[in-house]
């Protein structure tokens, strides 16, 4: 009888920061990774838990759809590896963090949200509470065009921003 623990161990190899080397292939916009010297080409880094565990990375082959390995915490990688990886992940996971809320107005059909994000100011529309959900203190907002915004920590938002957010949560 194979337990889930055994199956997990066999299916997902956890690599330590020193065991992995990362190279960016500009032609394919993918990675070549080396685990203890063994190369794997055409690898895509994936955040399986982009909100609840954003530093956990799964490396997956785009050629064989094989899960090659996982890195438990991207922050433990050496600086140059981390910067390279973050650069690639940045466009794959464009989830701006909302740092302030100017105004949220209900128009009768949509809530129009005017916010300040870490990527600049933005105005977007949501239908209502079904477009907003919470993970602990984080608030995830998906607008009508399926863009995703994140409030990293509701409790740490300013008073005015909290009051505005109360209209939609």
């Amino acid at each position: 009888m194979s337990s889930i623990k055994d199956y997990a161990r066999a299916s997902f190899r956890i690599v330590e920061p020193d065991e992995i080397e990362i190279e960016y292939d500009g032609n394919s916009d993918l990675l070549t990774i080396y685990i203890n010297g063994k190369p794997y080409r055409g690898v895509e880094p994936i955040k399986p838990f982009p909100l609840s565990n954003p530093h956990y990375i799964l490396f997956r082959s785009t050629l064989t759809h094989e899960d090659i390995c996982v890195v438990n915490d991207i922050r433990r990688l050496r600086k140059e590896k981390r910067i390279l990886l973050e650069h690639i992940l940045d466009k794959r996971y464009f989830i701006p963090s909302i740092i302030d809320v100017y105004d949220i107005t209900y128009t009768g059909e949509y809530y129009v949200c005017k916010v300040k994000t870490d990527r600049g100011d933005r105005t977007f529309k949501i239908m209502g509470r079904r477009n907003v959900y919470r993970i602990d203190n984080k608030i995830v907002i998906i607008d009508i065009d399926e863009n995703i915004y994140l409030v990293e920590n509701y409790e740490k938002m300013g008073r005015k921003a909290k009051e505005e957010l109360m209209k939609i949560i």
Partner: protein
């Protein structure tokens, strides 16, 4: 019950069961008494009708007739004696009687259950006192709120007193220098009163919020102790209403109602003292309407209780319908039953309107009359008081102070009357909460229940079970599953396949017989220990309105990210999850509405797989996925079912043909057991079902091909 029943020296009564059909066959009373030596039946006068030694009884049975049933004893000499009849309302009680008579070893258990029942019934106190315990942890805040409210009452008595001084001793006496002093006192009094008011509001709001939290958590925790069969007694909408509506009504009483009641009583008493001190004659006039008001209130209360209860029941009917219909929205649309459902809702809403109008009419019969009586009394005081002032009997200041006090006198009376309605509502809500909280889960652990590390052996021994006391769904079912064995249970719809899994999970207890896991009766195993080690994937899995990762983690709260992904991989869910924008953090929607049927099913399989169950039940688990996905899931499940006791329930026989053994059920009975090949060779029900499905597949292939 007086009886001519005589017991021998060492004989004692073990249990007594009261029937609702008398010995002459009319509605009435008769008794079945089980002693340590005999089975006795008495009539309502206590005369012994039957007396049979337990040692002479070979078996006991209940025969169901239309509208009533009868207990029959089969004696060792072969005679069958019908001993007592009862209506079907008492079927459950007499099932216990039969079990008691059949199995001497169960006597002790049943006696204990009876004792518990008696204790529970005796455990009665006034519902509002019962719910008062929720406020006890916040007694300091409650006392602060009450104390500031009461202090506010006494402060409120001061302004009319100073009004008299202001008019008589300052304005009319032309004492200009006193004016500022009196005005300052009035302003300070009002300021203090406002501060006390704010303190009271904060303290009582604090108590209110805390009490609401406590009632809801306690109710939820209590409901969670029950098994799914509680939904046979309460519809889910009604349970939700207990936690939401009833909790807020009781909360209002505990935080605000009680305070208003106390404040009004104290205020009434203190204002009465003041007006009697000022002018006895006018005070008597002011008190004259009181008997009429008290009589009116008591009449109103009697009627209001039933009217409000009726109104509440009508609104919960609407909630229950909505809770039932809204999740079934696709079914309604698919059957074009929108008008039908609209009519059903309209009918129930009409009932709400009627009930609401009934209570409005009741209020209108009472409250305008009350206002008129109070206004008339005030007018009379003005008239009599005015004459007294003109005649020099009292001063203008006294009359003004008196009128000011009178407005404070009727205020609490009006409050007392107006809180009758919410008090009644709170009282009925408290009654319902008390009745739910006093209910004991029928299936629960005993002090002797054990934790068992399950290996995976299952044995059903002569199991009889019915959801209602009248009809058995399983009849004398016996089978054994060895550890690591994979069996399939098949049979026509309604043959009792799913019931077997519900009994194994102890959602219900068997009526007769027993179920053993690793040789231990499951009633002796801690429910949590049993269920943690049994995993089930059902036909229509329920996902929660949460992220995919949290739905999978439901099966193992401390699962690592790798275990979560591994479980999803086994269930062939990993790839489609990674294609979603938020991957494993993607929301599932209410009941999994943001996922397709196949996706829901695969996440449910992952949720079960991750818990690493010792016994795995797949109850039509792949019926909602296409055959290609089903094949994939079957291959993946092979990894996890290998060496693990697995019960697969399937209507589609191709799903189970490769299992170690097949059990064929028909109308609650096992009719065949064997491998796929053996059963085909036997040419019985299984072969018939197989051939029918094979022919259907062939026909489908011809049509499509």
């Amino acid at each position: 019950m007086d009886t001519d029943l005589e017991l021998s020296g060492d004989e004692s009564i073990v249990a007594r069961f009261e029937s609702d059909i008398a010995v002459d066959g009319r509605y009435g009373v008769s008794y079945l008494i089980v002693t340590s030596k005999r089975c006795i039946v008495c009539d309502d006068k206590g005369r012994v009708i039957h007396s049979v030694d337990l040692s002479n009884i070979s078996s006991v049975s209940i025969v169901d007739y239309v509208g009533n049933s009868e207990v029959k004893l089969t004696l060792k000499d072969g005679r069958v004696i019908p001993i007592i009849r009862f209506t079907r309302s008492l079927r459950r009680e007499f099932n216990e009687a039969v079990s008691l008579l059949e199995d001497a070893s169960s006597i002790k258990t049943v006696i204990n259950e009876h004792k518990e029942e008696v204790e529970r019934v005796k455990f009665k106190m006034e519902p509002l006192l019962f719910v008062l315990r929720f406020a006890l942890p916040y007694k300091l805040a409650l006392i602060l709120g009450l104390a500031s409210g009461i202090a506010g009452i006494f402060l409120g008595l001061l302004p009319p007193y100073y009004l008299r001084i202001l008019i008589d001793d300052v304005i009319l006496a032309q004492r200009r220098e006193q004016l500022i002093v009196i005005i300052t006192i009035i302003v300070v009094t009002q300021a203090l009163s406002s501060i006390l008011g704010a303190l009271r509001s904060y303290a009582l709001s604090y108590v209110s919020l805390k009490v609401m939290h406590s009632i809801r958590v306690n109710l939820f925790r209590h409901i969670m102790q029950f098994q799914p069969n509680i939904l046979d007694t309460y519809e889910s909408g009604r349970l939700i209403s207990r936690i939401t509506d009833d909790a807020s009504r009781v909360n209002w009483f505990l935080s605000w109602g009680l305070e208003q009641l106390l404040r009004s009583v104290i205020s009434l008493a203190s204002v009465a003292t003041m007006i009697f001190t000022l002018d006895t004659r006018l005070a008597i006039i002011a008190s004259a309407p009181l008997p009429l008001l008290i009589f009116g209130v008591s009449m109103f209360s009697k009627k209001a209780r039933w009217v409000y209860h009726y109104e509440w029941r009508r609104s919960t009917d609407v909630s229950a319908l909505l809770v039932d219909v809204i999740p079934g929205f696709p079914v309604v649309k698919a059957h074009c039953m929108e008008r039908y459902e609209e009519d059903r809702l309209k009918n129930r809403l009409n009932e709400v309107v009627k009930a609401g109008l009934r209570s409005t009419i009741l209020n209108l019969k009472f409250f305008p009359m009350l206002s008129f009586i109070i206004s008339s009394a005030t007018a009379i005081i003005w008239w009599v008081g005015g004459l007294e002032v003109l005649g020099g009997g009292i001063t203008l200041g006294v009359l003004s102070a008196f009128i000011s006090y009178v407005s404070q006198f009727y205020g609490p009376i009006q409050t007392l009357i107006s809180i009758v309605e919410p008090m009644k509502r709170a009282s009925t809500a408290a009654e319902r909460i008390q009745s739910l909280m006093s209910m004991d889960p029928s299936i629960k652990d005993t002090p002797n229940s054990i934790d068992l590390d399950i290996k995976g052996e299952i044995r059903f021994e002569n199991v009889w079970f019915g959801y209602t006391p009248y009809t058995y769904v399983l009849k004398n079912v016996s089978f054994e599953v060895k550890p690591g064995e994979k069996i399939g249970i098949v049979g026509p719809t309604g043959s009792g396949k799913t019931t077997i899994t519900k009994l194994l999970l102890r959602f219900y207890d068997v009526n007769k017989g027993r179920i053993l896991v690793d040789g231990v009766d499951i009633r002796s195993i801690k429910i949590e220990s049993l269920r943690r080690q049994i995993g089930i994937v059902s036909q229509d899995p329920r996902l929660f309105n949460d992220s995919i990762v949290n739905n999978i983690r439901y099966g193992k709260p401390d699962a690592t990210p790798e275990e979560i992904m591994a479980a999803a991989k086994i269930a062939l869910a990993h790839d489609f999850i990674l294609e979603k924008p938020l991957r494993y953090d993607s929301p599932c929607g209410e009941g999994g509405s943001m996922l397709s049927g196949g996706e829901r099913q695969r996440i449910a399989i992952a949720r079960t797989v991750i818990s690493d169950p010792k016994i795995l039940i797949l109850d039509e688990a792949t019926s909602s996925v296409d055959t290609i996905t089903e094949d994939g899931i079957k291959k993946a499940l092979d990894n996890i079912t290998r060496g693990r006791t697995t019960i697969i329930i399937a209507h589609r026989l191709s799903t189970v043909k490769d299992v170690d053994r097949l059990i064929v059920l028909d109308r609650g009975e096992i009719v065949e057991v064997g491998t796929h090949e053996e059963l085909l060779e036997r040419n019985g029900l299984y072969a018939k079902l197989w051939n029918t499905q094979f022919q259907e597949k062939l026909a489908e292939a011809k049509v499509s091909g």
